[in-house]
Amino acid sequence: MKNLSILILILSSAFAYAQTPEEKGLEIAVEADKRDQGFADSSSKMTMTLKNANGDESIRKMRSKTLEVNGDGDKGLTIFDKPSDIKGTAFLSFTHILDADDQWLYLPALKRVKRISSKNKSGPFMGSEFAFEDLSSREVEKYAYLYIKDEAVDGEDAFVIEVRPNYKYSGYTRSVVWISKEKYQPLKIVYYDRKNSLLKTMSVSGYQQYLGQYWRPDMMVMSNHQTKKETRLDFTDYQFKTGLTERDFNKSSLKRAR
């Protein structure tokens, strides 16, 4: 009897200290967010290689700039260089945590800046297998988290968490993310569509650390299991803290982005 009460005491205190899977998932997301804070601004060059089920390839080139915004989603500017017919087209977005993002598109042939609907989160980015929401800033509050287990990816230890979007118009019911225990960055993400069927897998590789803190990948490969199409995204020329300000992310700068 005495032993039993001691056992109950031990168990209940263990439960009091043990996290629920939700808490542990959130803790990992918060830590990932914390480790990536303070980069102020960043820029990089990207090459997208689209491959269809027959293996035909087409290339897109673009440059992107990001401004870190504390307490809200980041601001982003993407300038397209290839294919040539869309050269000079530029995309400005003010992402928000749960509200709809603000997005403007600049069409160089008409010199027209168009405010566009941000309902297209689930839509393909430039005809690729990446959706807009796959490439936009990942704020903690955008998702609900659930820790599942620990599992290594290619020998790298990782937490596996399930992530469900809290925002409107997502194309996913959920995604499962392998987060590196060392870098607190995703190594692999598996996406499930609105019907909860397996849709896509993204593999992220070639992480390098910048400014002794920020991990960024050299390559992301997104494979669509339903269409058998694949998009490879290569990153080069990462730069941080280059002194970008709000002024570099408005409609005037969008118009002259080159």
Partner: protein, 397 residues
Amino acid sequence: MVLKRMVRVVLCLLLFGFGQAMASEWSGYVAAEYRGFTQSKLDDSQFDNGNLSVSFEPEFYHSWNDGDDSLTFVLFARWDEHDPQRSHIDIRELVWLHVAQDWELRVGIDKVFWGVTESQHLVDIINQTDLVENLDGEQKLGQTMLNLSFIKDWGVLDLYVLPGFHERTFPGKDGRFRSIPEIDDHTFYESSAKDKHVDYALRWSQTFDDWDVGISHFYGTSREPRVMPSITPAGLRLTPYYDIINQTGLDVQATLDEWLWKFEVIHRSGQGETFNAVTGGFEYTFVGVMDTAADFGVIAEYLYDDRGSNPAVAFDNDIFVGGRLAMNDAASSELLFGIISDVNDNTRFYNIEASRRFGDSWVLSLEGRFISAGSTGGPFSSIRKDDVIQLELARHF
């Protein structure tokens, strides 16, 4: 003078090359266009059946000073098989841009777009329409300007000084899409300075959350001429007359999730009776239609002009209904179609545009325009036999 000096600067840059730290690049396109007319000409001097045309638009861009200074040069040239008026060259841009912390300065020839609506662009007034290019009026001629832009917390204020005026281009005697008879070569101006009159404009624009708002004013030579008929020994003659006008414009867009609400209004005086014109409506987008990656937008706009009785006014009381299908595929396949119909008479204007990319640098576009003119003597009466199917293949570099 400014123009000559800038041409010289560009030539020097081209001839002598650039330092390593400077960025410069060429881009542009060459395109071949075929227009097939499904109906016989209305006027004897016009051509029948098909027409070939080739256009070329090279662009040179050079920046220095860490991108705070740049020079852009865009030339446009077209050769047309039948209409010498459509064969033309224009400097679309030759502009030096300087960017500072809260202001920007543009000096040279440039292109400016104002407005939000789709069916017509009432507020947009800085550049002259290059009408021989396309009946839709979306192509513009370069405009000489000095533009100072202040970027402040309270909005963006643009000030423009616009010396030098381009007449609107009109199809010649041999061309289709024209009045009968064609618009005469002689041009009349209200101002004794004629095309040397210096025009001024200003615009304030700001974003308030989901609302984008612009207020503008233009004083100077109207981009749109009045067409004056006169009887000469040779018969009826149509002469363009450019008034000095004042035009105030307001454009507003509200972006509320999948709804885009768009509104433009202008108030113009100095061109005959003072008038107001309005375009307003919405665009609603269905994302991922029928479980595909495609988006489909429905656009509806109402077009109103209070000079209703004036036959020169194209859209006095009209409804535009259209759709925009974006496949979001690797080829960027797109389809845009619409009908503008007059509420009073039965004039209808049908329009379809489709395009897709082939490989990395070829773009094929198809355009169709069909007119059913309700009454003779209406604004579209002289082009009622100009139904056209146009195919264009462009190579971008």
